[in-house]
Symmetry: C2
Subunit: 214 residues, 2 copies
DNA sequence: CAATATAGCGACCGATCGGTCGGACTTTAT
DNA sequence: ATAAAGTCCGACCGATCGGTCGCTATATTG
């Protein structure tokens, strides 16, 4: 049906491969993603699939790149319209929590799981992961600093420290969702973010029960 | 050299296998741990190794059990002598950070990485992981409640929320160490814990730069 | 001492892994 | 029309996977 060997169709095939790879890798891991299984899943041949990338590693890098695009689309873009500084930071965190809650990647955030998969090894995949994390960290830190400059966060705020802790909240959320199911954890994550980013005068006391936990 | 087929020697062999499995699994992952590699590494045969456990899954479960014992030894026991409640909680967090900082498992906390490896699957390994996490969570929560009862934490403290956030700090620390190297992250983790567990009157404001960051 | 149990070994199994190769076929460029 | 480029396939490769099956050698039991 239809031309199956045109250049345009080839690009579509490549896209399909990458898309499926991202989903599969989030479940089985970047290494657990196998060419044969992927090809069978897509109804194409192993060699036809591999012809698009050459090696499995190239496919992994492509999948990671696509995952970054999806993450950016899901977490950063919804907050792009918010005013820079604290409002955008809050919007990012909301989108981030929603992204984890909706399980955009069926097996949990691909970056986090890939990091734990590749933390002991070396090679291009690990390097790309490091760069991606660093970039995201940089984006967040810059936003925190903007919030500080705007006076929405205390002037002595340690931006890197705040980002470190925000990360922790999101990783705890991701972990809980994947292992135990969502449950109350999204609400907990929201509460934690609020406590980290909201400097209501008087009480910054941590972890007290919120009024309405929904 | 020496009797190599005695029952006592067999137990020692089994121990050696499990110990090595824990280390290898923390680097390569529970699934990436392969029988052949492990046997070669220990200088024994594949079949001789597998004879002790029957299946790879049994070996994985044994490794997870051993990892739990090590974790308990490293994180819980140093705090066992502290008085229950907040002091013990602080001691646990200190030991926890130290455990991550010293990289007791060379590839990072085995439980965390295993969770991300198995979160999409099912079977005995995942079930054991769930139980182990639940047990640890329970331990921590009980300690938080004890601290609340003793008046060392505010009476309206949400214990589960606090544990959720402590988890996040430790996971962020683990992640940072494994991906970027330790650097300032242990200090950040300590600051985060202090902010979560210390209720100095007046300022509970988050993430301000500490006086001496070492 | 004889009988039994078992630790460990070497050879081997089917399955699957990532990857290669040559050709069939279609599109595109000339 | 013809040549060049490119997509995709089926067959195949060596390596490795988890696991099985006798077998030997030793330790334990009676």
């Amino acid at each position: 049906m239809s031309p199956r060997h045109s250049a345009a169709e080839a690009r579509r095939t490549r896209e399909r491969i990458i898309e499926r790879s991202v989903d599969l890798a989030s479940i089985e891991g970047l290494e657990g993603l196998t060419i044969g299984r992927l090809a069978l899943d897509l109804g194409i041949s192993k060699s036809g699939l591999l012809g698009h990338f050459g090696t499995k590693e190239a496919l992994q890098l492509a999948a990671l790149g696509r995952a970054a695009a999806i993450f950016s689309q899901e977490v950063w873009r919804p907050a792009a319209d918010a005013t820079p500084g604290l409002p955008r930071l809050l919007a990012v965190c909301d989108a981030w929590i929603s992204y984890l809650e909706r399980e955009v990647f069926p097996g949990g955030c691909l970056f986090v799981s890939s990091t734990f998969e590749y933390d002991g090894r070396s090679g291009p995949v690990r390097v790309l992961l490091q760069r991606q994390f660093h970039a995201w960290e940089h984006r967040l830190t810059a936003e925190v600093r903007r919030a500080v400059a705007a006076g929405d966060l205390p002037p002595d705020t340690d931006a890197a420290q705040l980002v470190f802790e925000l990360y922790g909240v999101m990783m705890s959320l991701n972990h809980t969702i994947q292992l135990h199911g969502a449950g109350r954890s999204p609400a907990r994550a929201k509460a934690a973010v609020a406590r980290l980013l909201t400097t209501t005068s008087g009480s910054g006391r941590p972890t007290s029960t919120p009024g309405s936990p929904s």
